[in-house]
Symmetry: none
DNA sequence: GATGAATGAGCCTTCATTCAT
DNA sequence: TATGAATGAAGGCTCATTCAT
């Protein structure tokens, strides 16, 4: 949680530049998710921050750049999680479950949702390559843990690519239907999915 | 396969209206998926059909209306499948597997992909309601079959809502990664997913 | 009154061409007056006649041409009246009153209203010249009768141009406020105006 | 007279908004009257002000809105006159003559001409209601003064509605034929019409 | 750094007119 | 002659971006 509201960030003149950048991204992500990238005008973003449109250009060089920022921020969240999971160790199945937990959690947060719900066609070619690369890294991690699990016997042999995709898909979709404060909490959901999505995958699940 | 190319449909002045409407939708869906809704100009759609932009207005009353048409067409495909599945019968698990097969197949086809990959924010309020209603019907079907399976003992008791969502999510995501002619065929994928996504759900899957 | 409705005119194949032209003009005039020239599409005109748009081009070569037709028809009505008034004779004041009566009557009829209420800017240069010429003829007639009246002593000396214009203006304006079936009838209005507009003009009206 | 030309108003970035709004209206009114509303493109209006089309949208939200602005400005002129006339007092006939003078003057000015010569069908429904309401207020004033005059004996009894309409019509028509610098001046015209249009109306004008 | 104003580029939509049957 | 379909031409409006203060 921020200790100041996004508007307050802009209240004082000489506040940290990164803080302001983040405030812009937060405001933009919220509006992009609510109304779509195209239906969100920079005026809307600026207004929600209590500043004016041209001021945004002090922190981002274009609207596309803000969109890219949202994606990058989302991926930063994922990467942080990936690091923690590695540190925690365990066999392939353990790590897969930890990844599912972490990824599911991210999909309940605005920047995580951005990764799935915002139209990637709006990214510039260069930006798209960046995003695609990072996305592949995540896919790789899913595959890697599955392969690890197969190798160490914690996971039943399977088509790794398909399995990784359907698990990732099940998780990505969370960003479309999860509503905070309604139904399960984010934490409960993480546990549930870690369990449900690995039940048919874990060793011994096949008769 | 069509017996005529999209361009040929417009070769003769007087041809079946529905055929032309469908040709427009096909062309639009392809471009929307490839380049995004916004980056696709009506000129592009028209050009790919060998006609001029205003001619499109003989078949659709706006660009938004074409988008809605894509969604409706996708849902028509789903609804047709839903009918067939009902006719086929079986216990809850059988039906769920049939639904997964059918739905996975649809997600490998352009109009199915449209349902997932095109930004719904571009739909008018009225159109969005239409789409949302039909989408809920599909969600309901997933839940219904799971409940049926629990009742008839073919499926282990579980959180129906969550289970329906993660299965649907795994399937929807197919529209993002499936590339025809690369890897598994659509048919193979359907079988694989029908098996994989129910393994942890079917009776006896829990020790 | 027509003995057939406009739609019926087009029912039989080989009806008089002029009859069809007139039917088109009637329909167009009504719509032009009701909705304005620009807001009236040729589709609307065609629909009100029970035919299709391209059929109109058998009788008029453009929408502008239809507009010109309305103007010409209106002026034909005036010219016919002018002829009758000349035949009737009388002194300048008598003729002026007859002119007022006739002109007021025409201003209560659709084609008369067209002359005043339709935007002349839509006429082509050539058409505008035609219309302007005929309009000047009418103005001339007003002036001529006033001059005649001054010469023969039936009308008090005055600024002929101004007088002609204000009388014509008073009459033209009828086309904006006259509603058939409400208030005075067209005939009563003609008498009233013939009296009112000449009271301050006739000999002896100045003390 | 303006102390700056219309173009100069837009020379500096930060100048009184109202001044710019008025400059837009002036430019638009001139072009609308000269070429008609439809044949005037916003590009034309912008060009005549030395700015570009979208800049107009800083001051008006649509082309229709500019048209409405012209009408409103015209009515503001009238309303200002109506206030002065009331202050000046006099009997019904005096006031009617003052009204004729003022109204005739307004009909020689661009914004006054707009009220009569621009096609009201281009106004939105809402705007049309606004305009119609104000127009009725003016009509009411004509009627009111005539009634007052009849009551105080300065005007002969007559059909008030018809009389008001023909006087107003005679005046409105000024906007169609008056050319500044040709023939009578605006002031002379006002006097002439105040005299001419009341000669047959004033007490004692009927024998 | 911030802002009010202005711009450039683009695209949807309309509709009179024409074409092909 | 009549029509369904197609087109050419045009113009209003939006909005990300830049300019000038």
């Amino acid at each position: 949680m921020l200790s100041v509201t996004p508007q307050e960030v802009f209240d004082t003149r000489h506040r940290n530049r990164d803080q302001k950048r983040t405030a812009v991204l937060n405001a933009a992500a919220e509006l992009f998710l609510k109304n779509g990238y195209h239906r969100t005008r920079l005026d809307d973003v600026a207004e929600s921050l209590g500043i004016t449109k041209p001021a945004l250009y002090n922190y981002f060089k274009s609207k596309h750049d803000i969109l890219l920022g949202c994606h990058m921020h989302g991926h930063d969240l994922i990467d942080a999680s990936l690091g923690e999971i590695e540190e925690e160790g365990g066999d392939g199945l353990d790590r897969l479950r930890n990844l599912i937990r972490a990824y599911a959690g991210i999909m309940t947060m605005p920047f995580g949702m951005c990764l799935v719900r915002l139209d990637e066609h709006e990214l510039s070619d260069k930006a798209l390559k960046l995003v695609t690369t990072r996305r592949r890294m995540v896919d790789q991690r899913f595959k890697h843990y599955i392969e690890t699990g197969i190798a160490d016997g914690s996971i039943e042999p399977c088509d790794v690519r398909i399995t990784a995709f359907w698990i990732a898909g099940a998780l990505n979709w969370v960003s479309h239907w999860f509503k905070p404060g309604k139904g399960l909490s984010s934490g409960q959901l993480q546990e549930q999915l870690a369990e449900d999505l690995t039940r048919g995958v874990a060793r011994g699940s096949r008769r």
